[in-house]
C-alpha cells in the first residue's frame, strides 16, 4: 500500500531532517513509529501529507502503486490517504458539517459516484458521532474553533470514520489527551481497523499502544528508522527509554 524508499527531506532550504527512511505498510497492518522529540516524526507526516514548505531531496514514496509526491494534498486524501493532525487547525466560520460533506463528496466525485443525499449523509454522520461520543451540536460548530484539546482529536477521528481512508496516518493523536479522551480516541481508531485498511501511528509515548495494539513498531532517531520489531519493542522502549535503544543501535 505504502512503500517508502530511502527518503530524504528537509524544511525548505533548511538542514536535512529525514536522512533515509525505509518503510513498507501493507493493507490490514498497524504500524507505530516512535521517536523522541526532533527525530523527524512530524516532518515525515507532513511530507507524506504534502504540506508546502517541506522538500523531498531524494528517495521515493509509492502509494497504491502511484508516485505519492506527484499528488497534491487533496488528491492524496481523495485516494484514501488521510492525515490526522497533531494540532488540528481552527477554522472560524466553517461549520464541521460543511467540511465533512464537502470532503465526503470530493471523495465520491473522485470515484465517479454521485454526491451523497443529505438525509443519508446525516444518518451516516450521526452514527459516527455516537462512536466518538460527540454531541450533534458539534456539526454546527466551526471546525475546531474553541474546541478543547480532546475535542479536536476526537474530531480528527470523526473525520476518519466518515471518510474511511485506506491509509490513516495519525500524527501524535494521543498528545494532550486525558485518560478518558485517550480511550475514546483509541476506540475510534480501533473501529477503523480492517483487513483492507492500514494505520500508521506516530507517537512519542508508549501509552497509546496499550489501547491500539500495533503489528509493527519502528524507532525513529535522527531521521532514520534505527530499529523495527513487533509490539514488544514498545515495551522495551518503555523500560530502557529512547536513549537505551539509540545507544544499542549505534
Amino acid at each position: 500500500m505504502l512503500k517508502i524508499n530511502d527518503l530524504h527531506a528537509r524544511v525548505e532550504n533548511g538542514t536535512p531532517i529525514l536522512k533515509g527512511i525505509d518503510l513498507e505498510v501493507k493493507p490490514g497492518e498497524v504500524h507505530a513509529i516512535m521517536g523522541p522529540n526532533g527525530s523527524g516524526k512530524s516532518t515525515l507526516c507532513q511530507v507524506l501529507g504534502g504540506r508546502d514548505g517541506y522538500e523531498v531531496t531524494s528517495g521515493t514514496a509509492e502509494y497504491l502503486g502511484e508516485d505519492l509526491f506527484a499528488l497534491e494534498p487533496e488528491e492524496r486524501a481523495r485516494a484514501g490517504l488521510l492525515l490526522g493532525f497533531q494540532y488540528p487547525v481552527e477554522i472560524p466560520g466553517v461549520k464541521n458539517i460543511y467540511l465533512l460533506k464537502e470532503a465526503y463528496n470530493a471523495q465520491r466525485k473522485h470515484r465517479g459516484e454521485p454526491e451523497a443525499d443529505t438525509f443519508q449523509f446525516l444518518k451516516l454522520v450521526r452514527e459516527k458521532l455516537q462512536m466518538m461520543q460527540m454531541d450533534e451540536s458539534f456539526l454546527h460548530r466551526a471546525v475546531n474553533a474553541g474546541f478543547s484539546g480532546g475535542e479536536k482529536k476526537r474530531n480528527e477521528i470523526l473525520q476518519m470514520l466518515v471518510l474511511e481512508p485506506k491509509l490513516a496516518l495519525l500524527d501524535e493523536t494521543d498528545s494532550g489527551l486525558d485518560i478518558d479522551a485517550l480511550k475514546i480516541v483509541s476506540d475510534g481508531v480501533n473501529k477503523l481497523r480492517s483487513a483492507d485498511r492500514a494505520i500508521v501511528l506516530v507517537t512519542h509515548y508508549q501509552r497509546l499502544l496499550s489501547y491500539i495494539e500495533p503489528d509493527f513498531v519502528h524507532v525513529l532517531s535522527d531521521g532514520r528508522i534505527i530499529k523495527s520489531g513487533d509490539k514488544t519493542l514498545a515495551e522495551e522502549l518503555e523500560r530502557s527509554g529512547y536513549l537505551g535503544i539509540i545507544e544499542e543501535a549505534a
Binding site: 508546502d52 497534491e72 486524501a77 493532525f85 472560524p92 466560520g93 460533506k101 470532503a103
Partner: protein
C-alpha cells in the same frame, strides 16, 4: 477655490434652489434648504486634500452632470419583488429614483402608535411635526454631500414610534434607481424617531434596475430615546455603474440600544459616514460592517463613535474583502470625552486581499480623554490563512473550493450577527455569486 468646486451644471442647480423653492414650503424648511445650498456651493465637493476624504476622490461624481430626476419610471410589482429579499415578511416602502411609490408599497396593518409615511406626504400636511427632526441631527462638518441632500431633498421615509410601541415585523425601505437618461442624482432622507422603550427593525436597502448609473446621495437621521431598541440594516447593492454616498446620524439616549448592519456589495464609487452619538449613560451601539470590492469598485466607510456620556458601550466589527482592482477603505474613529468614564469601546477591522491589485486601507483612530475606560482596537489586512487551506485540502477538498469556503466563512462571521434570516441568506447568495469560487459555494447558501 478647491479642486472640486462646483461645475457650472451644479452651480445652476444650487441657484434654482435658492431662487425657486415652492412658496408653500414652511419657512423653517425653506431656510434650512437655502442655507444648505449655500454651504454646499461654498464647500464644493469634498476634496482628497481634506483629511476625511483622503482616500476617496469624488471627481467622477463632481465632473458628471447628474440631472434632477423628473420622469416617473414605470416599474412592475414583479420587478420590485425580484429586488426584495426573498422570504422577508415586512412592511415595505418603495422609492424609485428617490420618489415614494405608494402603489408598490405595503404598509397594511401597522400597529397603533406608529407613523410610517413618505417625507413628501408629511411635508404636505404636517410639516411642523418634522421641524424638530429634519436636519437637526445631520450636519455637514465631514461631508458637503449631507448639505447637498438637505438642499436638494427629494423625498424619503418618516418613521415615528410612540412610547413603548414595538413593531414586530421589520420595515423594509427599498430604494431603487432606474436606468433613466440622463443619469440623475437623488437625495432621499430617512428620519427615524424611536420614543422611550419602543422597538423596531428597519432595513434600508439600495438596489437598481438593470443599467442604472445614477447617483444616490442619502441622509439618515435616527434618534433612539431612553430604552429604545433599533436595529438598522443598511444594505447597498447598487448596479456596478452606480454611485452612492450615504451619511447616517444616530443619537442615543439612556439605555437605548442600536444595532447597525452595514453591507456593501455593489456600486462603482461608494462612501458611507456613520456618526454615532452616545449622549446618555447606558447607551449601547453595535456596528457590524462588511464590504466586498472587486472590478474597479471603490467603497469607503468612515465611522465616528462619540462617547459623550459615562457608561456607554460600542462594539464595532468591520470586515472587507478586496479582489480584482477593488479598493476599500475603513476608518473608525472613537472619541471618548473627559466625562465619559466607564466607557467600553471595542473596534475591530479585518480585511482580506484576494488579488495583488486590490487595495484596502484601514485606520483606527482612538481619542480618549477619560482615564477609567476600556478601549480596544485591532486592524488587520491579510491573505487567506495557508494552514487552514492546507487542512481543508488534506481532507480532499480542492484548492478552489477550500479558498471559497474560507472567504465565505470570513464574511459570514459578520453576517451571522444579523437577526433577519431572509436578509442574511439573500446577502450570502449575492456574496457567493460575486466570489470567484461561486460554483462551489452553492452548498453553503
Amino acid at each position: 477655490m478647491s479642486a472640486n468646486a462646483l461645475s457650472q451644471h451644479y452651480a445652476e442647480q444650487v441657484r434654482q434652489i435658492q431662487d425657486g423653492l415652492p412658496p408653500e414650503l414652511p419657512e423653517w424648511l425653506a431656510g434650512r434648504r437655502r442655507g444648505a445650498a449655500q454651504r454646499f456651493a461654498a464647500a464644493g465637493f469634498p476634496d482628497p486634500r481634506q483629511e476625511e476624504w483622503k482616500y476617496t476622490n469624488v471627481r467622477p461624481i463632481a465632473t458628471k452632470p447628474f440631472a434632477t430626476a423628473e420622469a416617473v419610471v414605470a416599474v412592475s410589482p414583479e420587478t420590485i419583488a425580484g429586488l426584495a429579499f426573498e422570504g422577508l415578511d415586512a412592511y415595505r416602502m418603495v422609492f424609485v429614483d428617490g420618489r415614494f411609490r405608494p402603489e408598490l408599497s405595503d404598509l397594511e396593518g401597522l400597529p397603533e402608535g406608529v407613523v410610517v409615511r413618505s417625507l413628501s406626504d408629511m411635508l404636505g400636511g404636517e410639516a411642523d411635526r418634522l421641524e424638530p427632526l429634519l436636519g437637526t441631527l445631520s450636519h455637514d462638518r465631514f461631508s458637503s454631500f449631507a448639505a447637498a441632500n438637505m438642499a436638494f431633498m427629494s423625498d424619503g421615509a418618516v418613521i415615528m414610534l410612540g412610547k413603548g410601541v414595538r413593531v414586530e415585523r421589520p420595515l423594509h425601505l427599498l430604494l431603487v434607481g432606474s436606468a433613466g437618461s440622463p443619469a440623475a442624482w437623488h437625495h432621499p432622507r430617512v428620519l427615524v424617531q424611536a420614543a422611550e422603550e419602543s422597538e423596531v427593525t428597519i432595513v434600508e436597502h439600495y438596489a437598481d434596475l438593470d443599467g442604472a448609473s445614477g447617483f444616490t446621495n442619502t441622509v439618515t437621521e435616527l434618534r433612539a430615546e431612553a430604552g429604545a431598541q433599533v436595529r438598522h440594516y443598511l444594505v447597498q447593492d447598487h448596479a456596478d455603474s452606480a454611485y452612492h454616498i450615504g451619511s447616517v446620524f444616530v443619537q442615543q439616549r439612556r439605555d437605548s440600544r442600536v444595532t447597525s448592519h452595514n453591507v456593501n456589495l455593489g456600486g462603482r464609487l461608494v462612501r458611507h459616514d456613520l456618526n454615532i452619538d452616545l449622549t446618555e449613560p447606558g447607551a449601547e451601539i453595535e456596528l457590524n460592517g462588511l464590504f466586498l470590492v472587486g472590478g474597479r469598485q471603490h467603497v469607503d466607510t468612515h465611522t465616528r463613535v462619540h462617547h459623550s456620556s459615562p457608561n456607554t458601550t460600542s462594539r464595532e466589527q468591520y470586515r472587507g474583502i478586496g479582489q480584482g482592482h477593488g479598493r476599500g477603505v475603513f476608518k473608525g474613529r472613537v472619541l471618548v470625552e473627559r466625562g465619559a468614564q466607564k466607557t467600553d469601546a471595542q473596534q475591530h477591522s479585518a480585511n482580506l486581499l484576494l488579488s495583488p491589485n486590490a487595495e484596502i486601507d484601514t485606520k483606527p483612530e482612538l481619542e480618549i480623554y477619560a482615564d477609567d475606560v476600556k478601549c480596544a482596537h485591532g486592524a488587520t489586512v491579510g491573505q487567506l490563512d495557508e494552514t487552514s487551506l492546507y487542512y481543508l485540502r488534506s481532507r480532499g477538498i480542492g484548492t478552489e473550493a477550500a479558498r471559497g469556503m474560507l472567504v465565505f466563512a470570513f464574511a459570514d462571521e459578520v453576517l451571522e450577527r444579523m437577526e433577519l434570516a431572509p436578509v442574511r441568506t439573500s446577502i450570502e447568495r449575492r456574496l457567493a455569486a460575486r466570489l470567484p469560487q461561486a460554483g462551489v459555494m452553492e452548498v453553503f447558501t
